[in-house]
């Protein structure tokens, strides 16, 4: 694969371009197509109320998937993010209920998110421990820590002005604004800035990246810190939507976020993918979950479907890469 890139950068760039446009266009078509099909079966699916609930309720997954995409593109993985979002939401809610200024309740979780993820990034980058081990350990630390500290007690009586997600601007709800803004900014930054490109370089080939003057270790640390930032923002959108914060870790959330990133076209081998794709994929997954209800399929099948979706995408991605590599060798 690297031989292809070296032999004909133009070819590789065109192929990558085709592939990216392909994945995003495919997702957009899938989102619209699915809406039409399910709408024909059950028109209530297309009710404005349902569609906006669908977007609002899942914006935080799309936001978290931005950071996850960066992590995976850099050649790493993180399975602690679901637990982290649970912890941050609890911190946020507890602060608000304890009477802290609302801005504090909004900002502190984001800072904590950055700190936790940066710590993990530092261990991965500088101590060279595989990210799966670090984040698996962190997952249990956060999960166990949260339950033993809170005892799983629910946080109720949140102050009225805590609910950032209830606000809207020009009629557009805040979660959607944040989701779109975060996606566009992250996409532009990753596409055009040197540090954004460094993520792709590091994930594609760390050694080559180093020779091109990219510091792979600093890049990985930066990626994890940014991932923490997006996880913090996601937890903010998530927590301020809820009337009751359950102070437990949302079950399987990390898998949904990883699925969104991978189905969005982020290659699990690193080096390829966009956050526009991951946001579209998050919307598609939410749409599928909601559609199941409207066509009378038990919601207990959701996880199996999500698993099948991620499996199919991963296998398709690898097969496509192998085929392209084979073509590259022939040229």
């Amino acid at each position: 694969m690297s031989a292809t890139t070296i032999a004909s950068p133009g070819y590789a760039r065109r192929a990558a371009f085709r592939r990216l446009v392909g994945q995003e266009a495919l997702l957009a078509v899938a989102i619209i197509g699915l809406a039409i099909v399910v709408g024909l079966i059950n028109p209530r699916f297309l009710a404005t109320r349902n569609l906006s609930d669908l977007l609002l309720g899942n914006a935080y997954i799309a936001i978290a998937a931005i950071g996850m995409s960066m992590v995976i593109i850099s050649g790493n993985i993180d399975i602690s993010v679901g637990a982290l979002i649970g912890v941050l939401a609890t911190i946020s809610g507890s602060l608000a209920v304890a009477g802290a200024p609302i801005v504090i309740a909004w900002v502190v979780p984001i800072l904590v998110g950055v700190a936790v993820m940066a710590a993990q990034g530092a261990i991965v980058a500088y101590l060279r421990i595989p990210s799966i081990v670090v984040t698996l350990g962190m997952l249990s630390i956060l999960k166990g820590g949260l339950i033993s500290v809170t005892g799983g007690k629910w946080i109720t009586d949140l102050p009225q002005d805590f609910h950032l997600a209830d606000l809207s601007l020009f009629g557009v709800p805040m979660p959607v604004i944040i989701m779109v803004l975060a996606t566009v900014l992250a996409a532009l930054w990753m596409r055009n800035s040197p540090s954004g490109r460094a993520i792709y370089a590091t994930g594609g080939n760390p050694e080559a990246a180093r020779l091109c003057g990219v510091n792979p270790q600093r890049t990985v640390l930066m990626v994890f810190a940014l991932h923490g930032l997006f996880a913090g923002i996601a937890s903010l959108v998530y927590a301020t939507q809820l009337r009751v914060i359950q102070s437990t870790t949302p079950q399987g959330l990390e898998l949904t976020i990883i699925t969104a990133a991978v189905v969005g076209g982020v290659s699990i081998l690193g080096g390829v993918g966009t956050v526009v794709g991951s946001t579209l994929a998050a919307i598609l997954i939410a749409e599928i979950t909601s559609a199941l209800v409207f066509i009378n399929v038990s919601p207990y099948w959701t996880d199996a479907l999500r698993g099948a979706l991620i499996l199919a995408t991963v296998i398709a991605d690898i097969l496509r890469r192998q085929r392209r590599a084979a073509q590259g060798w022939k040229r």
């Binding site: 670090v134 999960k143 207990y300 499996l311 296998i315 690898i318």
Partner: protein, 323 residues
């Protein structure tokens, strides 16, 4: 190339021995310490009880040691436990299978689940980490979908022998585990199969060029992992008397922590069954000791998470100093 592996094994093994001796020493100190701290801890009853709780994780930790030695990982084991538990209960209750057949069916499903992991990992070359994250979602999802969150109970009395009975005072499942530990230990140390695992983990390309059946061996270890998860599901259902779809959730953490704590390198190429057994015992003693001193179950997960990260940190810094 075989020379390369041998020199490596030769170079690594004295350190490994030291690592295990060190672990055994820590274990001894922990035992004495916990015993001095709590007089209920060092009783035969308590220790045998702990043997009961160790078995499910232990059964899975054996093939996981193989997998980690090859440089792979299997995160789907907990989900396979859930799926097999559901298949056992569901096929007995809903298909009307006789219970022995239902058990065999559940074991077959476990082996198949592991085989699918291995097949895609070796044929399509999907990295094990990603493949087993995907099947973690898929297998757990199948358990949820098939069971529709309904639990199964009311198994006949004989079924509980494996999970609750004992032979000469030793818990049945502990005996099963001990037999399998011996078999796994011999297989890893004394057979071509076992040595091939080290060769793959040390240098997969070199192993291929030495005409070792790399793909077949990998396929076998992932299938064994699924089969062992099925066996663990059987033991678990028999012990707790009900089948629920969330069974085995989070097992991957305990299993991987035990193997890594036991000195297997997460990068592949090293690790022993004896190390894993010590790691296993340490984790259970930690849990039990903490529980006896009044720490709740949730806090013990924190300790295991810390232990996992620390053991890898220490192992890798020792390794770097050696280099």
């Amino acid at each position: 190339m075989s020379l390369g592996v041998e020199t490596r094994a030769f170079r690594v093994s004295p350190w490994l021995k030291r690592h295990e001796t060190l672990l055994a020493l820590i274990l001894l100190i922990a035992l004495v310490g916990l015993g001095a701290f709590n007089d209920r801890f060092l009783t035969i009853d308590n220790l045998l009880d702990q043997g009961r709780f160790i078995s499910e994780i232990g059964l899975i930790a054996l093939p996981m040691t193989f997998i980690i030695i090859t440089g792979g990982i299997d995160l789907s084991v907990g989900a396979i436990v859930g799926l097999c538990a559901i298949m056992l209960g569901y096929s007995w209750k809903n298909f009307g299978f006789p219970l022995p057949l239902a058990i065999a069916f559940a074991l077959a499903v476990g082996a198949l689940a592991g085989f699918v992991n291995g097949l895609v990992i070796t044929r399509v070359k999907v990295p094990p980490l990603i493949m087993t994250i995907a099947t973690l979602a898929l297998y757990r999802g199948l358990a949820e979908g098939i069971s529709q969150a309904r639990s199964v109970r009311g198994y006949p009395e004989w079924f509980y022998f494996l999970g609750q009975g004992s032979v000469f005072g030793v818990p049945t499942q502990l005996l099963v585990l001990i037999v399998l530990i011996v078999i796994a230990g011999i297989a890893l140390d004394r057979t071509t199969f076992g040595r091939t695992l080290y060769a793959i983990g040390a240098n997969e390309t070199a192993a291929r060029f030495s005409a070792l059946p790399v793909d077949r061996v990998k396929l076998i270890v992932y299938t064994l992992s699924g089969l062992a998860s099925g066996l663990a599901a059987w033991v678990l259902v028999s012990r707790v008397t009900t089948t629920r779809m969330d069974m085995g959730a989070g097992y991957e953490l305990d299993v991987i922590a035990a193997v890594v704590l036991g000195g297997a390198s997460i990068f592949g190429g090293s690790g022993t069954i004896w190390g894993t057994v010590i790691g296993l015992v340490m984790i259970q003693l930690l849990k039990n000791g903490l529980a006896l001193t009044g720490v709740k179950g949730d806090a013990t997960i924190v300790v295991i998470g810390v232990a996992l990260i620390l053991s890898v940190l220490i192992a890798s810094s020792l390794e770097r100093r050696r280099d």
